[in-house]
Amino acid sequence: MLRSPPRVGAGLTRRTLLTSALALPFALRAGAVGPASEVDIAEIQLSRGTISRPEAWTRLLFELLQSTSVEAEPRVVQLAPDDPALFRHPFAVLAGNDALTPLTEAASQQLVRYLSYGGFLFIDDTTGERQSDFDTSVRAMVRKLFPTRALTTLPTDHSVYRAFFLISEPVGRVALHRTLEGVAQGSMHPLLYSRDDLSGALDRRADGSDALPCTPNGELQRREAVKLAINLLMYGLTSNYKQDQAHVEQLIREGRLE
């Protein structure tokens, strides 16, 4: 079982300091009654196949603070899938670039319980390729977790595309697949999957600069990736709120939805 202490903005650099300074007013402006209840991210780590991109997720939390009313703690916690502490962090991510170590039975059971009782998992294929061993192993893992429910491509009117921004095409560092897939549970999708390396678009180097270029559309694409990442977090918090009748009617009235 891998476990490491919570990491907040690993690597103190000029860029990190700058980013942190920009975010400071938002971080200080408010907070939950207890900081432990503030929104943070758990990064699931397996012994093989996963990668850790704390800077990507920390950036996402700062972007969330800057752009939305959500009170977040820029905190990324790395946990193994069978770590009971996972249930202190209802939003989790799993990013990888190689075939994943198969889940143990205990890890599978915990992940199923996690997703059944309100947890949210975003899986990110960081290879940026059309086919990858990671993708194959993710599909095998999902089949093990949900034998009767397959990963399916989300419809374009899915709530995740309206959770905060209106998103017409989900992209990451690359724009090969331009879709999200998910596993449904009731009216929710507690597990979403991107194959366009979303965390790659968010990741930063130690000096605060973007770690990887976005292709083919550069910074415009990165902007869209950031919007998608914020939507993912918002969807993890508000679920299908955007499907509520009042919102749909209002957006239609304003001509922002077809």
């Binding site: 432990a36 209840s37 009782y117």
Partner: protein, 746 residues
């Protein structure tokens, strides 16, 4: 003289019967013989002696004769004059008004006066009772049964005649047989029948509501249909106006088109806005000349229940606490959830996003907290600060919420966070008046320390905090739940509020533990304060421990039920066992009394007042050990009945009040027909060889001159008790004694 001496008449043709048992006579005879022998043997013989014994023997013979119990029996027949019998219809159809505005029963007295003197009068309806009817309120008309009862009562007697005074609206089967079956067996009559029709033919109008239907119950805020059947007779009108009211308040009016038979149906669509039992009454106007004004209206009790609780969740900032509450509310099929989450505030405007990129809508706070507010059962402020949106008209909109709770009986919840309670600046606003905690904390308004909330004594009994049924297990269940992450501070519980969960260490100005969960009743409504934003731990962390999320779900389900005033969650609950009754059925009213902690109150005095069309009726009882008492009363009057219960505890203090309603909806078949059935009466008379007399006609009743009854007489003269017996016995004994004395014996 002789009859006197013998104790009665001992005429010819009679027979003598000894009534004493033979063995008694034998024993008495033996005794007398022995006595005579003993009296005669010791004395010398002589003529005097013979005479003395002879008279003594005669006296003994008289005594023996009396002991034998002789009775002289004379039997024979005689014929008495025939009797005349009248049957008067006492059913409610006799109340129908005639053209002159008087009930048709007023014609009965004149008809009875024309019958032979000494006529024996019976009232019939659903039975036969001797005497002239005092009231005409029998719920049935069974003329065949009445005639059969008379035949049985006067069996073997030729009556001088039988008169029937009726409007002919028979419902016991005789009318059907007489009019529909040529070979029907009709009642055997003991004398010639004269049928007097009561009530004039024709010229009568009547409009009636014959039925009201609503399908039993209705759902709150869901339209349902009430159908009203009407019938009009004796009128050329092709339509009739029908008015529907609920508890006396108008609901709507329709004009019903009538078919060729004068029947029609009005359909009202009603949307109930409150839960409970309501009395709907459909009525048609009573016009001059309406034969039966009482059937122009009909009531029906409709029970309105919630199919779904309508909840407004307003959240100032998406959070895990908001996420899990929404998941609960959204997945509960009994909840109709409308959520508004503030996703961006003015402080987030500088992030560089164009508004066209955003999937955000305006927060319609004015509409929500004014015109739309009343459609919700429960409003939840979850970490919501009103000031960025309606600081200018805060008093008006927040005042609406306070009125919504106090006056409309709705519910409000405030949940903690950095924008709630004092941090949301609610102190001094109308909201503070409906919060179960006191605001106005100086200094830090939050304590971020994790803690395990403690179940209070009140919380151990309150329905909101019942995670499991057994009290010890419930306390253990709360103690085993995950810790909360921090607390919104307060100045303690408001007056009259109940603290269900408290902080284990932090205390307020009154030195009492600070509330974590508190509830209160404000006017007709209720509110709850949960002073933290980490109740989601009770769901997710518990699931992580393998215990599922039942504690969280149960807590919020309990809270929702209590907050919306589920009838079962009131201190005093009254319920009739049905909504609608037929006349004569038993209405069973059950009252449950519980104290503020929802413990059953035994020996509580329960005063019940039932207001109905027939006036006010009062019932009284005391609750048993389970805090409930059931009282009954008969459903005797057609129409709406409102039940009010006041429960008093042992000290006499009022525990609470409750109300319900029921309706007695019997359609009165006696009033379905208003025209006299002259065809039936005429045919009945014809087929029984009788005489039919139409209303207003004058005709003497048929009488049988040979009528009479043979009476069998039997006269018994008890000779053993005749005065002659003691006279003869005394005479013979005296002569015997005199002879004895003359002969010188002693």
């Amino acid at each position: 003289m002789m009859d006197w001496l013998l104790g009665g008449c001992c005429g010819p043709g009679g027979r003598l019967v000894f009534t004493t048992e033979p063995w008694i006579i034998g024993v008495a005879t033996l005794g007398v013989l022995v006595a005579l022998i003993l009296a005669a043997i010791p004395r010398p013989r002589g003529r005097a002696r013979i005479a003395e014994v002879a008279f003594l023997t005669a006296a003994a013979g008289v005594l023996l004769g009396a002991v034998a119990g002789p009775v002289w029996i004379q039997e024979g027949d005689r014929v008495e004059a025939g009797r005349y019998v009248a049957l008067v219809d006492a059913s409610r159809s006799m109340q129908v008004l005639e053209g002159d505005g008087t009930p048709r029963s007023d014609q009965v007295a004149a008809r009875l006066a024309a019958l032979p003197p000494g006529t024996e009068v019976f009232a019939f309806g659903d039975g036969l009772r001797p005497g002239v009817p005092i009231t005409y309120d029998a719920g049935d008309t069974d003329l065949g049964g009445a005639l059969a009862a008379v035949a049985q009562r006067y069996a073997g007697e030729k009556l001088e005649g039988v008169a029937v005074l009726s409007d002919g609206i028979d419902r016991g089967g005789l009318r059907r047989r007489v009019l529909g079956e040529a070979d029907a067996v009709l009642p055997r009559l003991n004398g010639p029948l004269t049928v007097y029709q009561i009530g004039e033919d024709g010229g009568r109008t009547d409009v009636s509501v014959t039925d009201v239907r609503a399908g039993g119950f209705a759902f709150l805020r869901a339209p349902f249909a009430i159908e009203v059947d009407v019938r009009a007779v004796g009128t050329s009108a092709r339509s009739v106006p029908v008015t529907l009211t609920r508890d006396g308040q108008p609901v709507g009016q329709k004009t019903v088109a009538l078919d060729a038979e004068g029947r029609g149906t009005a359909r009202f669509e009603v949307t109930p806005e409150a839960v409970g039992r309501f009395i709907y009454e459909a009525a048609t106007p009573v016009t001059a000349g309406d034969a039966v004004p009482a059937n122009n209206a009909l009531s029906l009790a409709v029970r309105v229940v919630r199919d779904r609780v309508r909840v407004l969740q307003v959240c100032g900032s998406p959070s895990f606490d908001q996420k899990f509450l929404r998941l609960f509310l959204k997945e509960d099929p009994a909840v109709d959830l409308v959520s508004f989450f503030i996703l961006r505030t003015d402080r987030d405007m500088g992030a560089g996003w164009d508004s066209s990129e955003l999937s955000l809508i305006q927060f319609p706070y004015e509409k929500l907290f004014s015109s739309e507010l009343w459609s919700f059962d429960l409003v939840i402020f979850q970490n919501f600060d009103y000031r960025p949106y309606f600081d200018n008209n805060a008093n008006e909109l927040l005042g609406n919420i306070a009125r919504y709770v106090k006056e409309n009986g709705k519910a409000f919840v405030m949940m903690g966070g950095d924008r709630s309670f004092d941090l949301g600046a609610y102190a001094g606003t109308p909201i503070a008046d409906i919060l179960p905690v006191q605001l106005g904390v100086s200094g830090e308004a939050i304590d971020p320390g994790a803690f395990a909330p403690r179940l209070t004594e009140g919380g151990a009994r309150h329905p909101i905090t019942q995670l499991v049924g057994e009290p010890t297990e419930n306390t253990r269940a709360w103690a085993g739940l995950s810790q909360l992450d921090g607390l919104n501070l307060s100045r303690g519980a408001s007056q009259g509020a109940a603290v269900l969960l408290e902080h284990p260490t932090l205390k307020g100005p009154d030195d009492k533990p600070l509330p974590v969960l508190a509830v209160g009743e404000y006017g007709a409504g209720r509110s709850m304060a949960l002073l933290g934003d980490s109740s989601w731990r009770w769901s997710f962390a518990e699931a992580g421990e393998g215990r599922g999320n039942q504690a969280y779900l149960r807590f919020w389900k309990n809270a929702a039920r209590w907050l919306i005033g589920d009838p079962e969650d009131q201190p005093v609950v009254v319920e009739a066992n049905r909504d609608n009754y037929q006349i004569g059925e038993e209405v069973r009213i059950t009252t449950k009394v519980r104290n503020v902690s929802f413990a059953p109150v035994a020996e509580a005095k329960v005063d019940i007042t039932v207001d109905g069309p027939g006036g006010r009726e009062k019932l009284e009882g005391r609750t048993g050990a389970d805090g409930s008492v059931a009282l009954t009363l008969p459903a005797s009057d057609r129409g709406a009945h409102r039940v009010k219960v006041v429960a008093h505890g042992a000290s006499g203090a009022t525990v609470g009040e409750a109300q319900t309603a029921f309706a007695v909806t019997t359609r009165d078949p006696e009033l379905e027909e208003v025209e006299p059935d002259s065809a039936f009466l005429r045919t009945l008379a014809a087929r029984t060889g009788g005489q039919y007399v139409a209303a207003g006609e004058r005709a003497a009743p048929l009488r049988d001159p040979d009528a009479g009854r043979r009476v069998r007489d039997r006269a018994e003269t008890r000779l053993y008790a005749a005065p002659l017996v003691p006279l003869l016995f005394g005479l013979f004994l005296s002569i015997s004694w005199w002879i004895r004395r003359r002969a010188g014996y002693r």
